[in-house]
């Protein structure tokens, strides 16, 4: 598939130039030309007033027998002996996709002594669980988890695989997709079924959240994607539900793993797991000095929230880098995001724009954060925060 400009029809109006998100159209000698930056997204096709831009269908190169592939899979990530929330969230979404496609929903569970977690998967709506349980798989490892998931795909041929866009999910998701030779859509925030074709439509932010792209994987199977944690709701767990447990033997040997986890340093348990947090309280330059950050932490404690920080606060050494929210830090999507003394540079907004509700406190009424905020208090954050914390304490104890 490629985009072509019919030069004879082009009237050099320039309408296509401004809609191209990739800057892939140039005007030369009064005609529009498509450059190699084109991704065939088609944004220009609908814009051209004289229909001079056409989408050319190329011969299908890959003749893959797609009919062999069926079922929707969710990879369940295990952390500290429990399922990470994102896996359960994806089972909720996976159920909708599977029902829409008239297929089954299956979970993939890899680890050691994790059989008990299959019950959670059934309770969250999984029809089947593929369990690969072995001592060699006790810790996540790129090589062993890639090989294990690849084997499952080769043997059972799923049509769709959803994974959490966690550090590990993004680490081996790409490797698995590459080994299979299929497409992987990263960091999705929306999932659906394309009405015309029945393919999964994956929607994701790009350009620092300035645009959204909907992506399909038409000719390759499985259709794979990683999905951002805490975008979707966890389904209600119903432990009366039962399913089919399929035990698959592990083929992994110790020498297959070329990297080795020597030690884990837990900097924090709950407070910096921002990706999965339901509430985040973040502090920025307006906190003025490191001691004042305790005001942010106090509010977070009362709300059971994680603590975030702007780049300015991290660069100043007030908080470790693991807490940084923004383009060069973490991308978060909590139910409620408190921005305390954060002006809201676009790099910060890119990291938190998918929050459901934003509450901002800043003394500058013109701070860009207020454009993003559902509720904003113009005032001194150092004065407002302690009062806010007290009020929430009262509400909680009431």
């Amino acid at each position: 598939m490629a985009i072509k400009v019919n030069q004879e029809e082009c009237i050099a109006c320039g309408a296509c130039l401004s809609v191209c998100p990739f800057g892939a159209i140039v005007m030369q000698d009064e005609k529009a030309y498509i450059t190699e930056a084109c991704t065939a997204c088609g944004a220009c096709v609908d814009t051209c007033p004289v229909e001079a831009i056409l989408r050319e269908e190329e011969d299908k190169v890959v003749a893959m027998d797609k009919s062999q592939y069926k079922d929707v899979w969710v990879y369940l990530e295990v952390g500290e002996g429990k399922l990470r929330n994102v896996g359960l969230e994806l089972l909720g979404e996976g159920r909708k996709l599977a029902d829409g496609m008239g297929q089954s929903l299956a979970s993939v569970l890899i680890g050691h002594n994790v059989e008990g977690l299959a019950q959670d998967a059934f309770a969250a709506g999984s029809d089947k669980v593929y369990l690969v349980d072995a001592a060699e798989l006790a810790q996540y490892n790129t090589d062993s988890y890639t090989a294990t998931l690849f084997d499952l795909i080769s043997n059972y041929k799923p049509s769709v695989i959803l994974m959490g866009a966690t550090n590990d999910g993004r680490d081996f998701g790409a490797r698995v997709a590459c080994r299979v030779g299929t497409g992987l859509t990263a960091d999705c925030t929306g999932l659906g079924i394309d009405e015309a074709t029945g393919f999964v439509s994956w929607t994701r932010p790009a350009f620092g959240g300035n645009i959204m792209a909907t992506i399909i994987c038409p000719e390759h199977r499985p259709q794979m994607g990683t999905v951002r944690p805490s975008v979707f709701k966890k389904p209600v767990l119903d432990y009366s539900k039962k399913g089919e447990l399929i035990r698959v033997a592990s083929k992994i040997k110790q020498e297959d793993m070329r990297t080795k986890l020597i030690d884990m340093i837990h900097v924090c348990t709950v407070s910096c797991n921002l990706e999965e947090a339901e509430i985040i309280v973040s502090g920025g330059r307006g906190m003025c000095k490191p001691e004042n950050f305790s005001l942010v932490e106090d509010l977070a404690n009362v709300l059971g929230a994680s603590v975030g920080a702007s780049r300015a606060a991290v660069d100043a050494g007030w908080k470790p880098a693991l807490h940084q929210v923004g383009q060069t830090g973490k991308t978060v999507g909590p139910k409620i995001y408190f921005a305390c003394g954060i002006s809201g540079a676009i790099q910060h907004l890119a990291g938190m724009s998918s929050s459901d509700l934003v509450i901002a406190i800043n003394k500058d009424p013109d701070a860009p954060i207020f454009k993003m905020a559902d509720y904003g208090i113009v005032g001194d954050v150092l004065e407002v925060l302690p009062i806010l914390t007290e009020e929430f304490k009262k509400i909680k104890s009431a």
């Binding site: 490629a2 997204c41 680490d171 490797r175 299929t182 990263a186 645009i211 990297t259 020597i262 797991n273």
Partner: protein
């Protein structure tokens, strides 16, 4: 030590603005920069070279103007730069891009370490690094915040959601780095002058041992179906009372009215 660094020229997404009338991207005047994480990758490579000796080669796939980005890397201290550019590569998704870059690396031949930034700020996929490692059949460690090389053993701190993991591996290895690993150096005047004089070789499809069917749009399993600007947030409620007490009281009332608390 032979070190390769993969870099991408990206639009500075912080400068991208949305036209409020048409709700489309305004790309005019948006500068092209070296992807910030890739600068951290280059800095990590340069620091290892400073310590252990060797050579740092920077590679990039992109349009001819990506040479500018490579020149900046040379000015920072890279020894060599190669641009991989061909219309046949246009429209590549991550699979086709990593395939092309892996073929480039095979042509270069020898390497001990390959560095990448954790992701590019325009696409944010974090996929090309791991996919290059897969095409080459070498091991990878992603989200690296600290690296030490001792003989053929590499020891790193890898970022996890809740902390860091100490991971060890053997050369050759592909490493993707996070921003906190270092502060990229600025180009020196001498470096910039040298970079300006440097000839950057451009390799095309014909230079690489590749299957044409796996390049560009043809070799890309994913297709962009639709691009749209996210709906703008509706105007929020701004509270500005005489005292902090009053403002908080109003906020609590509004949150409670909206049944948020």
């Amino acid at each position: 030590m032979e070190i390769l660094v993969c870099i991408k020229q990206v639009p500075d997404t912080a400068e991208v603005k949305i036209d409020p009338v048409t709700n489309t991207l305004i790309r005019q005047g948006v500068p092209s920069i070296v992807n910030p994480f890739d600068k951290n990758a280059l800095e990590a490579a340069l620091q290892l070279k400073d310590k252990h000796g060797g050579k740092v080669t920077v590679i990039s796939m992109g349009p001819p103007q990506a040479k500018e980005a490579l020149k900046e890397c040379l000015a920072m201290g890279a020894d060599k730069a190669i641009l991989v550019s061909d219309r046949a590569f246009g429209g590549s998704d991550t699979l086709a891009t990593s395939y092309t870059l892996a073929a480039t690396i095979r042509k270069i031949g020898t390497y001990d370490l390959i560095f990448c930034g954790k992701q590019a700020i325009d696409g944010d996929t974090a996929q090309v690094g791991p996919e290059i490692a897969e095409h080459l059949g070498i091991a990878q460690i992603t989200y690296v915040a600290k690296i030490e090389v001792n003989g053929d053993t590499v020891s790193v701190e890898r970022e996890y959601e809740e902390g860091y993991g100490i991971i060890e591996g053997k050369l050759p290895l592909l490493i993707s780095v996070v921003k906190s690993i270092n502060e990229p150096r600025y180009p020196t005047i001498k470096g910039t002058m040298k970079a300006n004089r440097a000839e950057i070789p451009v390799w095309t499809m014909a230079d690489l041992d590749v299957d044409e069917q796996r390049l560009g749009l043809k070799g890309s399993p994913t297709q962009v179906r639709r691009i749209f600007t996210p709906p703008q947030r509706t105007e929020g409620v701004i509270i500005q009372k005489d005292t902090a007490w009053e403002s908080v009281a109003v906020l609590i009332q509004k949150l409670s009215d909206a049944k948020i608390i």
